[in-house]
Structures are given as C-alpha cells and as structure tokens.
C-alpha cells in the first residue's frame, strides 16, 4: 500500500465500553441544541402569557387573559351575531312562509331542532314520538290543531299553564265523582269503543249512546271526532294519547285526564325567534297540516 487514505472519517466514542462494545459519539448539530433552548424560552413565555400554574381554585390567569371558556363565549356571540339577520327575517315572515323561504327555511328547521332537543325531548322524546300521556308530534292527530299557527300558539301559551292567561285550557270532568254511576261509565266506555268498531258488549254500547250525548258530545261531538278548538280529542281514530283499551278508557272517563305543558313564551323561556323555529320544526316532522 502506497499510503493510508489520509482523511478517513474518525468517529469518537463516549468512552463507555461494555464487553468490548464501545459507544460511538456522532454529535448532534449545534442548532438542534439551540432549538431546545428556544423551546425552554418559549415555555417560559407561555407560562407568563397563558394560564399555566394550577392553584387551589383555578390557575394563574396569564397576562393575555386567555381562557378557553371565554373563547367559546366569544364564538357563541359571533354565531348569534351572524344569525341575528336570519332570526329577524324569521320574525318578520308569515309563520306559514318560513319553511319554504329560500334564505331561512333550512336554518329555521335546524335551529328549531336544536331548541327541541334542549327543551322538548324530556317529555316528547328525542324522536318526537311522545309516549303515554305525551303526544306524538309526528302523526297527523292534533289535540289543539296541527297547522303552523296552532302549533305556534300551543308552544307559546302552553297547556293548562297557570302562568299564561291565554293558555290552552280544557277541563274534562271527573265523571266518577258524582256525575255518572259505574254502570253509566261502562256504557259510555263501550260506546267509545264502538266508534272504532271495537265494542265488546253491544247492549252496553247501545245504552251508552244516551250517556255520551248528554255528557260527552258537547266537547267531543256527536260522532266523537273531537274538536281542536275545545282541545277535545278525536275518539273515532286509531290514535290514543293514554290508551284505547276498555280499561284505560274507563279509567279516563272515571278520573279524567289533564296533561300540562309550560307556556314557552313566558318567564323568558324562549324568545320569539326560537318559538317560531321550533314551531316550524314540529310542523315539518311529518304531521303538520
């Protein structure tokens, strides 16, 4: 060999050796170290400017006064500000025109859904299908009317809501108290069943005609189809709020029924735009007239 290669790269070791295995030292670039120092400086700056150190109640606030909760409040305010013109338009429109409006139709339904999910699903259910005693809002049977104005009025003023003088109010007597004998109640119940062709005792049902005419027809109508202006349910259709079997009907006649709903326009519960939104949403669930 003429001569050794003169500039062969030499790698230092750290001086550590285990069983003859040495640890090579390939040094990191120095700027890498500087970026590490930079992160420390950054960290100190962050601790001064932003909430950082936990205290017993909360944390150090930081010079910038940042809080994630505050950011959310700002975002909500920004969204509300952006929605304000839409809400103004919803208030200015005819109720019946809102759903079909190209500018606010979809917004009204979506916003109404949000209102519904917040305030209504506790009784009517997340799918608005109701349950025993709480009306299904998807079907086509409405106690107080299913057009948009009626729905809006019901939501605004509630049902049997003491706090609102314009509330929906109907009062079925407790016939079991003094008005009717158990015999007459049984006759009336069989007559009600006969309206949907389900009477089990023809003689009682025939006798019930008179009982019904004298005691029930004033609100429910001679044919039992009810009256949305009196809040009297239709007894001649397939839908029953409390149940359509003989036992339930007998109990209803004997003890009466009277569900309640808050008047959502009172006590600052919902504002005008929200009332209209949720009315549109309910009207668009499939049963709206």
């Amino acid at each position: 060999m003429a001569r050794k290669p003169e500039k062969k790269k030499v790698v230092e070791t750290t001086g550590h050796e285990w069983d003859g295995i040495t640890e090579l030292n390939n040094p990191m670039p120095r700027w890498w170290l500087w970026t590490f120092y930079l992160t420390i400086v950054w960290g100190i700056g962050y601790m001064i400017l932003y909430p950082a150190w936990p205290l017993i109640n909360g944390a150090t606030p930081g010079l910038l006064g940042y809080s994630s909760r505050g950011e959310v409040a700002k975002d909500i305010a920004a969204v509300n500000a952006a929605n304000a013109p839409l809400n103004d338009r919803i208030i200015s429109l005819d109720l019946a025109a809102i759903a079909g409006d190209p500018e606010v139709g979809n917004y009204a339904v979506s916003a109404g859904a949000a209102v519904f999910r917040t305030f209504c699903i506790q009784c009517h259910g997340a799918g608005a299908a109701g349950s025993v005693g709480y009306p299904n809002l998807r079907d086509d049977d409405w106690l107080w009317g299913g057009d948009i104005e009626a729905i809006y009025a019901t939501i605004s003023h509630g049902i049997r809501a003491d706090e609102d003088d314009d509330t929906r109010l109907s009062d079925m007597p407790v016939f079991g108290d003094d008005y009717l004998s158990p015999e007459e109640i049984a006759q009336a119940a069989q007559f009600v069943l006969s309206l949907t062709g389900r009477a089990t005792d023809g003689a009682l049902a025939r006798a019930g005609v008179v009982v019904f005419e004298e005691n029930c027809a004033a609100c429910h109508g001679d044919d039992g189809t009810g009256d949305i202006y009196a809040g009297a349910p239709n007894l001649a259709d397939a839908l029953w709020l409390y149940g359509g079997d003989l036992e339930t009907i007998t109990e209803t006649i004997t003890n009466s029924r009277g569900g309640v709903m808050p008047a959502w326009s009172t006590k600052g519960r919902l504002n005008e735009a929200q009332l209209r939104q949720v009315a549109v949403y309910v009207h668009e669930l499939g049963g709206g007239k």
Partner: protein
C-alpha cells in the same frame, strides 16, 4: 471507520460543516437538470391549465376546492365520500417509492425529492452570484466587508424571490388561479392564502438556503425507512475500492503499476451536496444524487483510464468483481421477486382505481332511515316510515328526479310523500347534494303495515336522461 477513546467528556454537539458543491458536468447532472425543469415546470404551470367543464363548474384543470369540498383533476371530479381515490393514489405513490427504492436505492432522494430539487436550484443560484466552490470558500472566510455584504445580500434576495414564488404557487392549487392572482395583489385574498404564502416562503428559504442537507440527515424519516427496502440486489452509488485502492496522486500512480486507479483528486468530494466522501463506503448522509459518478468519470477520461470507478453497483456483484469476474446483467438485479411483487401490487391498486373510476355513476342516492320512532301510526291506522334520502347530482346542471318506492313482497305497496312538496318530483341543484325527507305510507290493510319488516327499494329517476339509481332499505310495520 476507526474509533478512538479519550478521557475528556465527549462533545455532544457539533457545528455544521458548510458544504460547497462544485459545478460538475456529465450525464447524471444532465438528467438532474431535465428533472428539475420538469418537476418545477409541473409545479408552477399546473394550476394555470384550463379545463372546460361547463357553465356552473370551475374551469381549472387541477383544483382542490376546499370550500365546496371537491377535488378536480382534468376530467375526474372527486367528491368527499370518494376520497378513497386520493387514498389509492397515495398508496400507489407509496408503492412506487418502494419499487424504486428496492431497485435503485435512494433514487427519490437524489433526483426527485422537492428538498433536493430546490436545494439544487438554490446552490445553482449561489454559484451564479458568489462563484464556484473555491470562490465560495474564500467568501466564507472573508471578513464582513462591503463586498461580502453585497454578495450575501444579493444571494439572499434571489433565494427569497424563489421562496416567494414557491409559496405563492402553492395557493393557486386551492382557488381559481387567475382570480386569486389579482386578489393577492389587490389585498382581497383570504387571510389563509397570505398565511400559506408566508409560511411556505419561510420554509423554502430556510430549508433550501440554510438547512439544505441537514433536512435529509437529521429531520427526514424517509431515508431511515428506506433502509428496510434495500437489499444486496439494490443498485446504488458505490466506489469500486478494489479497483481504486491503493489510491495515489496521478504522478505516483503513473510511476507505480501496483497502485489503484483512484488518483485522489477529490473531485467526488468537491461535488458532493451532502459533504461526504463516497470512497468511505455507503453512509447515511448519501442521497445517491450520482454527481460523484459524473465527477469521477470526467477525471478518468482526462487521465485515460476506464470510467465507472464510482458507479451504480449492487452488493451482490462486489465479490464477483473482486474475483475479477464481470458483474451480472443489470436486469438480473432489477427484476427479482421483491420488485415484481411491488409492480404487481402497484398494478392491482391502479387497475382497481381505474375500474372504480369507470363504473361510478353520475347520480347516486343514499338513505338514512329515521328509526326514532321506528314507525308512525296515523289517525286512519296507516303506517308511515320516515327516511332522509340524499341525492347526489354530479351533473353540471340542475336535474329533476322522480322518487318512487317498490318492494318484491306480495300485497305490499307504498305511497310516497315528499316533505314540503306536491307530488314526487324533486329538483337537485347542479353538482350538489340534496337531502329530501321521504315518507312511505302503507295502508292498514297492506301486508307491509302488519309485517315487522319489509325490504323496500327507493328509486330515483333522472327525468332528463332516464338514468336511475336506487337504494335498499327496510320498512317497519306494526306487527300484531
């Protein structure tokens, strides 16, 4: 590599050793110039290619339209739910990289990686302004006088212009390029556009001008992964030490025939953009740019010795060559189970994507049944099920669709009612999705009303073209 131990605490950090790649001529340099022109050309020109798609559609050939969630690529339009096309393309790109890496080593790093291409451009600009290797070394060691300031400031300004153009071109892929260009200059463009230009300008300037090979050596994970794809048949840039060693200066070499072909001219070291000596063997810094091959061949021709002292070699051929036998044919290395497997996978994904591309429809319909409640009983005993259907109209014009429902079950039929509409015809806007609430009604005496579940097809028919699409779902009845 030799090692040495010493008593002092070892230094854990070292300053960067500046690299001054010397100008070189040769076939690989030529290839790199053409690749640079091609890749930069594609990058800068693509957003400006126009493509007519009709009145309601963008006319930019390649456009990533974030606001409307569309990706346009010439005649292909990709909707968000078709993002598997993009995923497929990325998988193909990955497999392509595997293929090239297993065949040719870090060929991506050396020739096509944006970092390499831009650094190559930056170094060339530096060469034009400050001179070649020796002039640049002198300039580095010069004290900061007016001349050095002038050179440095000129170079940085030129780099900055390139950086701004690089960052500036990027945003044109995301909006209509001619419109955006005007908006950028009149200050009307979106904040995000300026933010991207500023940040990409900064990264280009710093990565291309100052970080250079350190990005590859310290920051990029890809070179480390590539080692897993290389084997003894991979062709990569190597030094034939059995031919070159023992090296000696030309004069000594001419006098003593026992010496190797390497004349120790350091040409390979001078041109290296990562500052290594290829004669030390394969090193993790090496991006296989092949410029040392050009440099060495040039010298070998000058001194009248055979070229190829540094060349693309495989580890498998080394023992053959040491024994004085010729290396095997290049294709024997390139075509082997590993590369064949990558080609097969690549083709499979590619063919799959092509098939998917040709069979996808211009209209589609999806359904989301409303299952809370399962069904609604109406006052006359009719059973109603509610569905939200989503009609995708990929035409560049609005289309009308008739919605129908049918079932194979006997004595079952449905009435279709659309929320808020008279009749069963809906109008879907151009290149958009329309969500319609559909009600299916089954009369009380209908079997579907009394069966727990009935399969049903919801059809849409394009009134203009007659195209149809359907979706399968279930109708829930009130079981007795």
């Amino acid at each position: 590599m030799s090692t040495e131990t010493h008593e002092d605490a070892p230094k854990l950090y070292a300053a960067r050793e500046p690299v001054f790649p010397k100008r070189v001529k040769g076939k690989f340099r030529q290839l790199k110039w053409w690749l640079m022109i091609f890749t930069l050309g594609v990058y800068y020109i693509t957003p400006w290619i126009r493509w007519d798609r009709g009145p309601n559609m963008p006319d930019q050939a390649v456009l990533i339209d974030m606001a409307n969630r569309r990706f346009f690529m010439f005649w292909i339009e990709i909707w968000p739910y078709e993002f598997y096309f993009v995923a497929g393309l990325l998988i193909m790109a990955g497999l392509g990289l595997f293929l090239f890496t297993s065949a040719l080593g870090r060929v991506w790093c050396g020739f096509a990686c944006p970092q390499t291409v831009w650094v190559d451009l930056y170094v060339q600009v530096e060469r034009w302004i400050e001179g070649d290797r020796n002039a640049r070394i002198r300039l580095l060691n010069r004290k900061w006088d007016a001349y050095k300031w002038r050179m440095r400031l000129t170079k940085w300004a030129a780099w900055l212009v390139i950086a701004v153009l690089t960052g500036g071109a990027w945003v044109f892929y995301f909006a209509d390029a001619p419109t955006l260009l005007v908006e950028l200059f009149t200050g009307q463009a979106a904040f995000v556009a300026y933010a991207f230009i500023v940040s990409l300008t900064a990264t280009t300037f710093v990565f291309g001008g100052f970080m250079q090979e350190q990005i590859c050596t310290y920051m990029c994970p890809w070179p480390r992964i590539q080692a897993a794809m290389m084997d003894e048949d991979t062709m990569t840039v190597s030094y034939r030490d059995w031919r070159g060693e023992p090296r000696a200066k030309l004069k000594a070499s001419l006098a003593d025939s026992s010496l190797g072909d390497c004349i120790d001219c350091n040409a390979c070291v001078a041109v290296c953009p990562v500052g290594i000596d290829i004669r030390d063997g394969q090193q993790l810094e090496c991006i296989t740019c092949a410029l040392c091959i050009d440099a060495c061949d040039e010298m070998m021709i000058k001194v009248g010795r055979p070229t190829g002292l540094i060349a693309y070699l495989t580890a498998n051929d080394e023992p053959l060559e040491r024994a004085g036998e010729p290396p095997r044919n290049m294709w024997k290395h390139l075509i082997r189970p590993r590369t064949i497997m990558y080609v097969v996978l690549l083709s499979a994904v590619g063919i799959g994507l092509l098939v998917a591309l040709f069979v996808r429809a211009e209209i589609e319909v999806n359904v989301a049944p409303i299952r809370n409640p399962d069904f609604v009983v109406l006052s006359d005993g009719t059973i109603r099920n509610d569905y939200d259907i989503r009609i995708l109209n990929k035409h560049g014009e609005e289309r009308q669709f008739i919605v129908t429902a049918e079932t194979d079950e006997h004595n079952s039929e449905f009435k279709v009612v659309l929320q808020g509409l008279e009749g069963v015809v809906v109008t879907a806007p151009a290149d958009d999705t329309l969500i319609v609430r559909v009600y299916l009604l089954a009369a009380p005496d209908n079997h579907a009303a009394r069966r727990e579940r009935t399969g049903v097809h919801i059809w849409i028919e394009d009134l203009k073209s007659g195209d149809t699409a359907h979706v399968e779902t279930l109708f829930n009845g009130k079981a007795p």
